[in-house]
């Protein structure tokens, strides 16, 4: 059929079909090989042809009643849109940006929530500590037996000391305990963060409860005259680990607060906004937990003197603090 004989929308299609076919080929190429591996000219053509196709789609919606053409153009532009607007950042760049800028900035922005997180843990610890001295059987209420590993009020002082200063870790199964604690606390942190979105209460309670465990555990050792030794044993990784749990709690509370007190925004919107910082807190908490696990797994058995343990634990804590306070500040 001669071109002049065609109806308007068929002519429209005949004039542009070649470009659409080329766009289709480029989109397939971008999807299989990745946009950043395409040559400059090809990538430029993809963007240009995509914009042409969106125009074609807008016109076709107005002038064409050909269902097949409309469906094709809808699918083609959607596919091209996904290729053109794919995230362009390399994974390495994402990590770099997080550590040098966005992570510490988020921490500084959410200091009130961090305060709440640390307060929950601290008050929990204090309560547990005081309750133990009121009645030692509170220990069994708070401490899950699989976590204490036999270190309860019934254990002898010598046994408690032997666990703290263990010269031969391979025979004691402590590394298994370490691995367990690692996954236990990681899960606790994740729970605390996730629970925050379901209003604040569960996150706060769980952090408080975690504080209780630490409190009664400490009280048990103080009771036996091993208080400072336990602090040394705990702080080598605990400074990092317990801070991580408090930070996860801060993130969860931030989400919960957005749901409870959305202000002038709609709740979903407030939750979305709060999520920007809360998620960064959660990631920082996760990184700190991994670091704590490494410290626990390797440093605790290698470093046996009390002073060195305290110095290492709090030294690492100070490094975290320094990172949060200093990194990512813009030059004025």
């Amino acid at each position: 059929m001669e071109e002049a004989d065609l109806i308007r929308s068929a002519r429209f299609r005949a004039e542009r079909e070649g470009d659409w076919r080329r766009l289709e080929a480029l989109v397939t190429q971008a999807e299989t090989r990745g946009l950043h591996r395409m040559e400059f000219a090809t990538a430029r053509d993809l963007a240009a042809l995509y914009r042409q196709a969106t125009t074609s789609l807008a016109i076709a919606r107005e002038i064409s009643l050909d269902r097949a053409l409309l469906d094709y153009l809808e699918a083609l532009t959607a596919r091209a849109y996904l290729s053109v607007y794919a995230p362009q950042e390399r994974i390495g760049g994402v990590f770099h940006r997080f550590f040098t800028r966005s992570g510490p900035q988020a921490m500084r922005r959410s200091w009130p929530f961090l305060l709440i997180g640390f307060l929950c843990m601290g008050l929990g610890g204090l309560t547990g500590y005081l309750l133990y001295f009121e009645n030692a059987s509170w220990f069994y209420v708070f401490m899950p037996p699989e976590l204490s590993g036999g270190r309860d009020p019934a254990a002898s002082t010598d046994y408690l000391r032997s666990v703290i200063y263990d010269q031969n870790p391979a025979s004691s199964g402590l590394s298994a305990f370490a691995a367990y604690l690692f996954s236990h606390n990681t899960r606790i942190a994740i729970f605390i963060f996730g629970l925050g979105a379901f209003l604040c209460a569960p996150a706060i309670l769980l952090t408080f409860y975690n504080g209780l465990i630490v409190g009664v555990f400490l009280a048990l050792h103080v009771d036996r005259g091993l208080g400072l030794d336990l602090v040394g044993w705990l702080s080598i990784h605990g400074v990092t680990e317990l801070s991580a749990i408090c930070i996860a709690c801060a993130g969860g509370v931030q989400l919960g607060a957005a749901v409870l007190f959305p202000g002038d925004l709609r709740r979903a919107e407030a939750l979305r906004l709060a999520g920007r910082d809360a998620v960064k807190l959660a990631i920082i908490a996760a990184i700190m937990l991994v670091a704590a696990a490494l410290l626990e797994g390797f440093a605790r058995q290698l470093v046996q003197s009390l002073e060195a343990r305290l110095a290492l634990g709090w030294g690492v804590g100070a490094l975290w603090l320094l990172w949060v306070l200093v990194a990512g500040r813009r030059a004025q």
Binding site: M1, L6, I7, R8, S9, A10, R13, A14, R21, R51, T54, T55, A58, E62, I63, S64, L65, D66, R67, A68, D71, Y72, E74, A75, T77, A78, R79, Y81, L82, S83, Y85, A86, P87, E89, I91, V94, A170, S175, A176, A179, F182, S183, T186, I190, F191, F193, G194, L195, A197, L255, A268, L271, R272, G275, R276, V279, A282, A286, A293, G297
Partner: protein, 307 residues
């Protein structure tokens, strides 16, 4: 529930405003496809993790303690980091999502941000893995805990069922949703296809009063029927199709007052010619601002501007 509301619920398409200002249509992925993708991901990543651990065990290079630590790390990795990194690298797709041909998109029309991907996968831990583990470990000895777990599971499952784009909680916070990847297939233009060889001398000419009866809906139904003809049929099926054609032609002739009789061998030519003429006419009317959605367009007009 009104008919309109029912149609809205069944309609799975959604329009996303692109930065170019042209809304792009996507089909929202159903819960089945997403569940399938999730299941595939869990199975594949667990298999990979187990394979790695077994390989390490048999290589004998590492002591039992490091093996425990490595196992813990690997199983931690296949929970959140795997999903975040794969969705980052493959633009909103994990391996499971690639199988199911679905993809995460950002509902503001921009590119997916790292933040959004992290959020939606972090919430997955609280939404899917946690209730999943709870359901698997439910026991009759702790009825209160079981009830809480059950309520949680139901609550979390209700979120994607109750909202329009099947978004789970993580999607709501991240501002994303999951769509089917559309497949661009360009079918031939019916108005461009060469007409069948003319048997007789008769050509069909349609006048304006013939073409004022039908609307877009009927036109596109006819398009579907004509496209289905491309498949060759034989025997009884071919006879049935001829009978259907005869009925359609008869119906159209009566509706539009087309006086000339159409012999059976000309049925297809008649339908194609009518399709072309009707489409040209309706497209022209549409250009002049008179969009005729279906054959009741005259009544719509009398009732005033449709909403």
């Amino acid at each position: 529930m009104s008919a309109g509301a029912t149609r809205d619920l069944l309609d799975r398409t959604d329009r996303l405003m692109s930065p170019e200002g042209v809304p792009i249509r996507f089909e929202v992925a159903g819960l089945g496809a997403r569940f399938g993708a999730q299941l595939a991901d869990i199975v594949l990543s667990s298999l990979a993790a187990i394979a790695l651990v077994v390989a390490l065990t048999f290589s004998g290079l590492s002591s039992p303690q490091t093996l425990v630590a490595v196992t813990a790390m690997v199983f931690l990795f296949i929970r959140i980091p795997y999903y975040v990194l794969s969705e980052l690298a493959w633009n909103g797709q994990t391996i499971g999502k690639r199988f199911m041909q679905i993809k995460v998109v950002s509902n503001d029309g921009g590119a997916l941000t790292t933040h959004a991907l992290v959020v939606r996968n972090l919430m997955k831990e609280a939404e899917i893995f946690l209730p999943g583990t709870l359901v698997l470990t439910l026991s009759t000895q702790t009825p209160v805990l079981s009830l809480i777990a059950l309520a949680w599971v139901i609550g979390v499952l209700l979120v994607p069922i109750l909202n329009k784009r099947s978004r789970r909680l993580g999607d709501l916070i991240a501002g994303t949703y999951v769509v089917h990847l559309p497949k661009p297939i360009l079918l031939a233009d019916l108005a461009q296809a060469p007409p069948p060889e003319p048997d007789g001398t008769q050509t069909f000419v349609f006048l304006t009063h013939h073409l004022d009866h039908y609307g877009i809906y009927e036109l596109q139904t006819l398009e579907q029927i004509l496209r289905a003809r491309d498949r060759a049929l034989s025997g009884a099926a071919a006879e049935r199709r001829a009978a259907t054609d005869a009925q359609i032609v008869e119906k159209i002739r009566r509706k539009i007052d087309f006086a000339d009789a159409v012999p059976p061998e000309d049925h297809e030519r008649f339908l194609r010619a009518f399709y072309n003429a009707q489409r040209a006419h309706l497209e022209q009317r549409q250009l002049f601002g008179d969009q005729r959605t279906d054959k009741y367009h005259k009544f719509h007009k009398q009732a005033g501007p449709a909403d």
